[in-house]
Symmetry: C2
Subunit: 514 residues, 2 copies
């Protein structure tokens, strides 16, 4: 068995199901091994940002890593922006990067570059397998490192000669690491804070935002009167009718400060303290109230659900019902198509168990609001602020969740970054409905410009936020890549198009002209 086969057998044996790839010559043996190995399947992306984003989306929904397989430094470069988002999402990814054999790197051939340095800023673990005697063992080590709570990107650089040379069979998959337990003292202290009669916010992140963690947080809130809040952008919110309400902090720091006014205590659970997304001249970046007490119940790498369980027990909250969001859908909208009426249509129609990949920018606020009372669903955010995540994350989520409708809410500016992902959705016949909010501008930049005091922007400033010269034809673009598409120009039309897309499986795109 060669190294490539050893590696792919190890990954498949440990439960890695997908390898998102755009390979080249240095990865040919790895691709051959991928084909020969049952249980793991290659998914082709026409650009590596699709691969890294898909691995992120898969990990957020499957709760376990996929692999990526990239072509030397340039392939990795193209994957980095969505790896930045994946890093912020704490998504586990086994990132394989093919490389020249060590003896050939010395010749500095054209494709040679410093892969390890480039991978470091996004990775929790980097290994160059140049000196490796067994790629299978390296694969296990990468899987372990990626899975170590809170999860991260483990980069294994695979020189081509390690893949084509003889290698040992991989041993047994490693036992994956558990999160660190939270001490009874910490639980006790938080418990005392929650019963001290002070206005308190539980700031939830990671596993506190879905599944048993969210339910426990809801019971604790119901028992103590604390509110549940979160950062603006999180990897995965489980929300909708029947679930506890978590209030996302607003994006702009003034609004976030206002939301937190009056809270004497903030308890981060699985996350860190909030800060402003950007800094602005003459304005503070702090969003927590002055003098607010902060006590972390569990950090991102700790046993979040276990800590919430202990806390609920200590508060005698386990038997208590949480305040569940009532089922509440907006009426089908009518009139002009706007961010608001588009959001209402989505709220009216969203299927139960849908997964939303949200990179809607300025156009999406209403969509979030109008789906608050929709049947339960998952909502995946732009965790790292690096645009071009929406379509790839939707692609990976669809592979992780067969049978669930995936909805991608995508601003036009970000859509152009990784539009290649539509082709993969067509190729894999994924059940994704993509809505392009076509406002022909980087809308958020126009808002920021005003905030920065540029009241009457000159022509060129307006120019760099203007996507209307030329207008992009999203219907043609999607259909060129194999995804059937329609253009909606009224609220009623958008509602009908959305209903049609939700009525049958497979990829669809709707250009919502705002």
């Amino acid at each position: 068995m060669n190294g490539a086969e050893s590696l792919m057998r190890a990954l498949a044996g440990a439960g890695v199901e997908y390898c998102f790839t755009n390979p080249g010559t240095t990865e040919i043996h790895l691709v051959a091994a991928l084909e020969q190995t049952p249980g793991i399947r290659g998914v082709l992306g026409l650009f590596e940002g699709v691969c890294s984003g898909a691995a992120d989306g898969y990990a957020r929904m499957a709760g376990k890593p996929a692999a990526t397989l990239l072509h030397l430094g340039p392939g990795l470069s193209n994957a980095l922006a969505n790896f930045h988002n994946a890093r912020r999402a704490h998504s586990p990814v086994v990132n394989l990067v093919g490389d020249h054999p060590a003896f050939h790197r010395l010749n500095d051939p054209p494709l040679h570059s410093d892969i390890a340095t480039m991978a470091a800023p996004v990775s929790v673990w980097v290994r160059d397998a140049s000196g490796s005697s067994g790629l299978g063992a390296d694969g296990y080590a990468a899987l372990w490192a990626a899975s170590k709570p809170p999860g991260g990107i483990a980069t294994l650089i695979v020189p081509a000669d390690r893949a084509w040379s003889e290698s040992a069979m991989p041993g047994s998959p490693p036992e994956l690491p558990d999160p660190s337990p939270v001490s009874p003292e910490t639980v006790g202290e938080v418990s005392r804070m929650l019963t001290a009669g002070k206005p308190t916010a539980l700031l939830l992140g990671g596993r506190a935002l879905h599944g048993p963690g969210l339910e426990l947080a809801g019971r604790i809130a119901a028992r103590t009167g604390a509110i549940l809040i979160s950062h603006t952008f999180e990897a995965r919110f489980e929300r909708g009718a029947g679930l506890p309400l978590v209030r996302r902090l607003p994006y702009f720091p003034e609004a976030a400060r206002k939301r937190l006014e009056g809270y004497a205590q903030v308890i981060p659970v699985g996350t860190t303290v909030p800060t402003s997304f950007f800094a602005y001249p003459g304005s503070p970046v702090q969003v927590l109230p002055d003098g607010c007490a902060i006590k972390v119940l569990a950090g991102p790498d700790e046993d979040i659900v276990g800590a919430l369980d202990s806390l609920a027990n200590s508060l005698d909250a386990c038997g208590i019902d949480y305040h569940a969001v009532p089922l509440n859908r907006p009426a089908p909208p009518a009139g002009p198509l706007t961010a608001e009426t588009a959001g209402a249509a989505l709220g009216a129609l969203l299927p139960e168990n849908a997964v939303i990949s949200d990179e809607s920018g300025t156009s999406g606020a209403f969509s979030y609001r109008f789906t608050a009372g929709a049947p339960p669903h998952d909502w995946l955010c732009l965790t790292g602020g690096s645009i071009g995540q929406g379509i790839p994350v939707a692609t990976g989520a669809a592979l992780a969740c067969p049978g669930r409708k995936v909805v991608c809410l995508q601003g036009d500016g970000g859509a152009m970054y990784t539009i290649q992902g539509l082709w993969t959705q067509a190729r894999e016949n994924l059940d994704v409905t993509t809505v392009i909010f076509s406002n022909r501008s980087y809308g958020i930049l126009r808002v920021e410009l005003e905030r920065l005091g540029f009241d009457s922007p000159g022509t060129e400033i307006a120019d760099t936020m203007d996507l209307s010269r030329p207008d992009i034809d999203w219907v043609k673009l999607a259909s060129a890549l194999g995804v059937p598409a329609v253009r909606a120009q009224s609220a009623e039309g958008f509602y009908d198009d959305l209903a049609a897309a939700f009525a049958e499986p497979g990829p669809r795109l709707i250009e919502a002209v705002l």
Copy 2:
């Protein structure tokens, strides 16, 4: 004056004409300054790989740097793959990367990452302007570093507060550094080697491949009987009727070895010794003959043209005519459209002074061959092997060379990487004719697969090289982005489409179905 204004005035005053950008909130003050500064103009790319590739194409043809302006680590990430090619082309680029103020980085907001580490592998110079008192001076330093022979990417990280704070006026632009002179001893030794009666190859790179350097090399060859050769991929070949013939080394190492067989001496001029592009099992990566003497006349950072001039003088070759390639165009082709007939059409029609941006992969060999006797033109190669260069480099070259027709020969696989560049060509109304060689596969990978002994590839191996499921509709894709497009399916049709595209200015795309 704020820092942003100081920076833009410095760059414009030093002759930087273009700033290829996709800015965000941290770059708003820089964009405002860009608008207010005469002499420098922002060009919007819908993805940063377009910006870095355009800066590369501009530098190759203008011989001086453009600026790029990118949005923090993610914006830089997206630019890295084409910066890899620019690094291999020794293209000077002033790379501005906006960032959070230093005080806000400490809060680790979502978009924060280690920009300096990420920039290092592609940059000759990296400065974080956090402690800077004057961004204008930083801009000069970046310009100096980028321009230092052989040229490279100088990355200046600009924290937003340095851009919005008061700053000194920039002083006078710096004197740009000259290349190091080559010693008379070296010239003398090479001169003796060239007159020793041994079969000798002058291996040309950089400025030895165009303008006065190429003419001098031609005279030296004519005087001494040496042949002129080059690496397979170079930043810029000047070629065609009336110019000296330079033989590019073949891509595959066996063929390159065969080409060099019998040469006792190789003299690199402005470049390094050749090596195989990739390594293969059981096959050497060396391409020079055993025992071949190597003597570098001038390294990439040395005075290449000066060294050739001294050498020509010492050989009394200055008055000698070089062997000029005769004008020789193929006949207009007929029959099925193939890589060969497409190449013949190009050779028959190529306008004088055209600039070719070549990322044609397996389909382009005939195009190169059939244009060998066309009127003089420039040919720009995929220097670093990172696909997705063709369309962006064409975009920058068109801005550098108004009045010259730019022709982009682009394989379909690479085209999907930076297809966003078509939109910039439409927006700027650039005179670029893009030919998509649509063979619906990563053709080079199929060739490599055979070379690696996978005689009957399994389904999945074939799959990752197959772009036909679904087929990409290039005509729709281009027209969605504002570039008029046609599909050619016969040699005659392609010839007519090419003639029509060459007959009038402005962006056009031809899908050549192979």
